[in-house]
């Protein structure tokens, strides 16, 4: 018994080391680098990299843009998936051919982004269609859908992935939580269909799926290859910006990049804690 207890303890220590150590080490290094205490540019403690980031507003811009992409992608995909599931009364996946909902999940984001570029760009397939039907006379007239100011291309890919995911997921929640029965009993008690949606279905599903929404949102927030292919020079999403700054010619960019890394890591830690504190949050 004693030996078993020992190896359990060792295993769990290992677990903590595997999950927290790389992150903690990375965060400490990033912090030290950003204040001039680590790296080949280190020349003693300084806050000038942070000041320059904050004063130029680029830090906020990057976070705000990533949050915007996250918000729009998640709200759009969640809302449309929920609408589908509710209108199918939680039996969406029982329909014939529902297997196609799984198709986007079989595609890596990189491949979908590549497809989106070929499909949506000014010289792409949709533009060819518009040209063939006489809507546009040249590629320049086609609306900007990739590398565009509103991140439409990025949102399109995230929407495709998240919509498929949420449809399947919500459909399962709808069935598992016996929501249909709740709706019926609410209606028996005199509630209208709309009322039962607002009072019963919506709160129940939201409470149940809140953690999944948040986690998915964080993935979109940190996504890399999609904005790398479909984004524009500025503003950039977080991961793209960090990687670009770390490999710039201007060596001053490195400490600033590490400052963003640190800020992002701290933000994630904070969000995970908040998520855990929130009702129905992480288990």
């Amino acid at each position: 018994m004693k030996i078993r207890y020992l190896h359990r303890k060792a295993g769990l220590t290992l677990h903590v080391l595997l999950t927290l150590l790389p992150l903690a080490a990375g965060a400490v290094y990033a912090l030290l680098y950003s204040v001039g205490l680590a790296g080949s540019l280190a020349a003693g403690f300084t806050l000038r990299y942070w000041e320059s980031l904050v004063s130029r507003g680029t830090l906020w811009q990057t976070f705000a843009y990533s949050a915007y992409i996250m918000g729009v992608s998640i709200v759009l995909s969640y809302a449309s998936a929920l609408a589908m599931v509710i209108s199918a009364r939680g039996r969406l996946m029982e329909r014939k051919g529902s297997r196609i909902f799984y198709l986007p999940l079989a595609m890596p984001a990189l491949v979908l982004a590549f497809f989106a570029f070929r499909f949506l760009s000014g010289g792409g397939w949709l533009a060819s269609l518009a040209f063939g039907s006489g809507l546009i006379a040249s590629p320049q007239e086609f609306p900007e859908l990739v590398n565009d100011p509103y991140g439409l291309g990025i949102i399109f890919v995230h929407f495709l992935l998240a919509f498929a995911f949420f449809s399947i997921y919500l459909d399962r929640v709808y069935a598992n939580e016996r929501i249909e029965e709740q709706v019926q009993s609410a209606q028996l008690l005199g509630a209208g269909y709309r009322q039962s949606l607002r009072r019963v279905v919506w709160p129940m599903i939201l409470r149940k799926t809140w953690p999944a929404i948040s986690l998915y949102g964080l993935f979109v927030f940190g996504s890399y290859e999609v904005p790398l292919l479909l984004g524009r020079s500025t503003p950039e999403m977080l991961s793209v910006r960090i990687v670009r700054m770390l490999s710039r010619f201007n060596l001053d960019d490195r400490p600033e990049a590490f400052a963003i890394v640190f800020a992002y890591m701290m933000l994630t830690v904070l969000l995970v804690f908040l998520l855990r504190k929130s009702k129905g949050g992480l288990r």
Binding site: R4, R8, G11, L12, L14, H15, V16, L18, T19, L20, P22, L23, A25, A27, Y29, S87, R99, I100, F101, Y102, L103, P104, L105, A106, M107, P108, L110, V111, F114, F115, R118, G123, G124, W125, S128, F131, G132, P139, L160, Y169, L215, F219, F221, G222, S223, Y224, E225, L238, S239, I242, L246, A257, V261, Y264, M265, T268, L271, V272, L282, R283
Partner: protein
Amino acid sequence: MKPVTGKILWALLASLFVLPAAYLLLLSFSASWHFPLLFPDALTGKWWSLGFTSRFALLGSMGLSLGIAAGVSLLSTFAAFFSSRWMALSRYRSALLLSAYFPFVLSPVVLAAATYIFFVRLGWNGTVAGVAFAHFLIAYPYAVILFSGYWNERLLTMDALAATLGAGSFQRYRRVLFPLSRGVLALALFQTFLISWFEYGLSSYIGLGRVPVLTVEVYRYISEANPHVAAVASLLLVFPPLLMLWVNKRFLIRLI
């Protein structure tokens, strides 16, 4: 929803979901295909045969990716299976589980950027083992989270019962826990496989271009303006998950 509009919507969705794969398939077989052609002007198999020549060596990349993903999947699933069981019995269960969420939600490429210096120190950057270890760092927490809901009262009781009846821990794993957990183990194996198989940013960052996993190759052909070979490589990347979809669609539902 009226049946007609419902059908139209359904058809629209179906085409949206099928479109990417269909388009890439056609692209991989087209001699050239550019604005304003709606369909390629001629079909050819040359990109596929070219993809497997020594210059492109896509088969080698596919093998490498398969190997890394299989290794990562096995290691992370079983490591997580053990640790999640110990966790379920631990006083610090929720704190331990929480620690798995951090690497899980962080952008993999940022994780790579932040820890790159350590990989370099260890000489693991640009090596297959280094890339595999980096994949493990994100696949393992995922598996832990997947298993965390699995160790319920009933299972733990059965385990304890087997122990009271005199089974050693090895026997309990072999005779009780593994057989009971076949479904969830398969799920974890496939999903951690996909995490590794799909990973681009982390692989390219840690791999230093020396570890040509399939995603890195796809990106290379895209940036070389070689869309046809990029389409071939993309399809190779999509093929195993499609196979999984055919075997058991549940395997694809994952949060990454």
